[in-house]
């Protein structure tokens, strides 16, 4: 199930997440700020789906969460306030050194 979104749009959103994090690499960006910056391109995007995309990219190993000592229990930090950065594989993908058919818009 594609969560009510066009498969092409899902790929575009995931790609744009990688591109935005690439701009800041190796620093991290909070999920809320990342999503707001993408609203320019995807005005109807909702946070719940955006969160799933972040989860997907994390499971794929393209992005990683950055937890701080200030977060007593990292699992309790709201998703909007969590920090994410590109992993080494993520930067390779964003730089087009490697390919992932699941994120390739032409496929």
């Amino acid at each position: 199930m594609a969560n009510g979104r066009d498969a092409r749009e899902i790929k575009r959103i995931r790609n744009e997440i990688l591109v935005a994090l690439k701009v800041l690499y190796p620093a991290a960006l909070q999920a809320d700020r990342l999503m707001r910056s993408l609203l320019v391109l995807f005005p109807t995007m909702e946070f719940d789906y955006f969160r799933r995309d972040l989860h997907y990219l994390m499971d794929k190993g393209y992005i990683q969460r950055v937890a701080t000592d200030a977060e007593g229990d990292a699992a309790m930090t709201p998703w909007r306030r969590r920090w994410f950065r590109l992993s080494t594989t993520g930067i390779e993908l964003a730089d087009r050194c490697i390919r992932d058919p699941a994120l390739d818009e032409s496929s």
């Binding site: 199930m1 594609a2 969560n3 009510g4 979104r5 066009d6 498969a7 092409r8 899902i10 575009r12 591109v19 935005a20 701009v23 800041l24 690499y25 190796p26 620093a27 991290a28 960006l29 909070q30 700020r33 707001r36 910056s37 609203l39 320019v40 391109l41 909702e46 719940d48 789906y49 950055v66 937890a67 701080t68 000592d69 200030a70 920090w83 950065r85």
Partner: protein
Amino acid sequence: MTSMRDYEHRNGRAERRGTLGRGAARGQLKRSKARVDSRPVERILPALVLAEMRVIAAGADKITTQLVAELDERFDVAKRHGVTRRRLQNYLTRVRQDPSEPVSAASGEHKPGLDEEASWQNKLSAHRRRQVSVAEILDNTFGRFAESKPELWEHRAYLMLVGQVYERLATSEDELSTDELIKLGKALAENRRVEARLRDGADDGTEDDNRSVKPGEMPESLAKSVRQIYGTDLAPMVRSADGDAR
């Protein structure tokens, strides 16, 4: 649960029955017309909402206006997504009659047309152009970003600021056009070059504005750069960021 009166109110019928002022009812009709979205319902509503509605529709004997009104009330379909109750009723009736109706647009046969593709490419290239200049500005303002390691979390305020500036510059096209942003990026880059030349020449004891920054410290030229970008003084912001971080 929605009362019948609320339901009529939203549909403008109250005006005919004389239970609501004309102006108010007209105003409501006008607003609801302005927000109508012409795409297919399954392309507008979120999948979770659609899925829940389909379950409810499957369990109902008939898709009545009352049921549609209740669903609208519950999921805020008309106001939030611009889908009229009539369209919602038609969709749910269709779904109830034929459960194989696509759950969402993604599982349907939608193929983006040339116009849609061209419009996306235009939007993307405009965004990319802006993103590139934002990246240049961030690079020139903050230098190379430190890796976000928890043990260096005194960087938090610094990274927060970078994130804020990125979001602000990448999205506020109304306040600062992409062309202006590109000019600004070039001006900052030029400033950096001049500063670098001065620094090279100042190794013999001249005051150096951009000495190397230790991890967790703000570059001294930051306030100056932000003033150039926003026309405001960053001093109070830097103080509070420092206070938070230490």
